[in-house]
Symmetry: D2
Amino acid sequence: MSKPIKDTLILQTGGTIDKIYPQQPGAYGFEIGQPAMENIMSRISPGFPFLFETVCTKDSQEITDADREDILRFVVEGDQQLILITHGTDTMCETARYLVRAGVGQGSNFGPGVGEKVVAITGAFKPECMKDTDADFNVGFALGFLQASSAPGVYVVMNGCAIPGAHAIRNQNGKFVDDRDVLSRF
Amino acid sequence: MSKPIKDTLILQTGGTIDKIYPQQPGAYGFEIGQPAMENIMSRISPGFPFLFETVCTKDSQEITDADREDILRFVVEGDQQLILITHGTDTMCETARYLVRAGVGQGSNFGPGVGEKVVAITGAFKPECMKDTDADFNVGFALGFLQASSAPGVYVVMNGCAIPGAHAIRNQNGKFVDDRDVLSRF
Amino acid sequence: MSKPIKDTLILQTGGTIDKIYPQQPGAYGFEIGQPAMENIMSRISPGFPFLFETVCTKDSQEITDADREDILRFVVEGDQQLILITHGTDTMCETARYLVRAGVGQGSNFGPGVGEKVVAITGAFKPECMKDTDADFNVGFALGFLQASSAPGVYVVMNGCAIPGAHAIRNQNGKFVDDRDVLSRF
Amino acid sequence: MSKPIKDTLILQTGGTIDKIYPQQPGAYGFEIGQPAMENIMSRISPGFPFLFETVCTKDSQEITDADREDILRFVVEGDQQLILITHGTDTMCETARYLVRAGVGQGSNFGPGVGEKVVAITGAFKPECMKDTDADFNVGFALGFLQASSAPGVYVVMNGCAIPGAHAIRNQNGKFVDDRDVLSRF
């Protein structure tokens, strides 16, 4: 018998994936626009059930522990076991560790609403509005990983890899890697 | 301890995902261009090991059982447990069933080189060369699903769902669904 | 004193520029979708007045002299002096010559509603829905050419060149060139 | 007899059209990447002769009169009568006026190397690397306008309009308009 397709909670927090080019004269930086997830979903005709919620819409360098507290609350209070978080790349690993320390995905002794969750945190190196964005692939990878996952956990999902949150780091080339792989090579 | 990232074998067979607009005057239909996977991979800086092989480059209405025999041989002879096949949408389900009938992913009594494989067959409703393609998402979903999979099997991966090959059908809206879900709703 | 910005009549006839990928299972060729001009105009916030009309929506290999008669009627009956026609590449030159033979843009002795028109026929080698389309550039070039034109005429506008309709041909590389340039080089 | 296709000098100065998303961690704003013109030209197989030169690669808020002096020198010293300048939108009008005050395009009494030039200054509201960029259209419009132009001048080319440099302003909606049109409406 096949595993049924499970509900997924999708949380927006901002970051590169959601950035658009500023429209007013004289602006320098990027702005957060409408959720990239809306555009990605419109391209795929999703056949799976999901709920989309916005936690915040910030560049990830501006994400504070108060924002992470909000993210945690959405994760814990949601009925869904599977959770996708879109997030800026600069502090993706910090948010992953925050959730790990709170017991998210750390096993059944933390309770079904916390310890048994599977959380994939992803984003993009290039905004969804750009021609050569990695947003669609990353979101697809994260959702595919969640559907097939058999064990709880918090994962940073980038570069076609799902890295356990307790070990996710960004190397000097900007890629997300497992710190144990880095150490084991030296 | 984290599960190590596993090697993936990626097989090209053609289909919509690889189609480009014909360049010579007077042409009507689409042509198969260079593998869409090359463009998709160039956007994500893949951090996982993979081997890319071309089995054939056909519109999937032209895929024959001789082509499926070739696909099966690549699947069986590859060292990799995880296999992604890019394929045209029109006969994706037929190829999935062909592999299932040959024992691929059907359990350890078929042997490690056949029964323990995990195969995800995906493609696109719109070619990778189009602005609103679903190719990146679908390939991402399939690769994420493969990395997290804990049980062997053959899956049709489209519309953000991984459907067991023995039950994958295309409904009257053109979406890929599990035939048991269709039945259970009537 | 500046020349005022002139009204432009934009006529759709179909062709590669308007093609989309077929959405139903089993289809091979491209279909004509909604006018590419709508998408192009949405990207530029046009500051000039224009009227958009659809004459037909055909692959240009299927354009007949009856269709050209319809195009001619729109050209002659429109109040606008400036006319942009989007058209398939395969028979763009034939339509240009048809209009030239009818006196369009051939000077004031043909009357202001015919002889003084400036007509630019353009299209695309790759559909507007594709990532690397030439549609936006070609339409832009044609509209810029029309605004600055000081003499009537019918022009085929492709590859960043406006070629008089009586001399526009497609060379063996598929590029649009002036047949006098081709001759003068041999 | 047809007018021959004229050589065009294309000058890069930077601006939104050339901006890319920053690749290093922790960055906020956009960076200037490789010239957008290279990508635009690769999409159209240009059939006209042109020379491409880089004057500077700056956000247009940072363009100084020393940079404008450099732009003027390229304009005056080039053999070409037709000149396209890609430029940031914030100070496009200032650069246009600078060239007008120096006599560029202001008639034959300024000499053939200055007064008889036709200069089109264009750019983009959204970078060329974005899916819904206006860069291709704007550059196309500017080049088409230059090819058809029968009188010298300096023009700001945006929103499908070529506005004489002495009168180009940006209105409160961010669109480029002729200040005489604005005044005449009040």
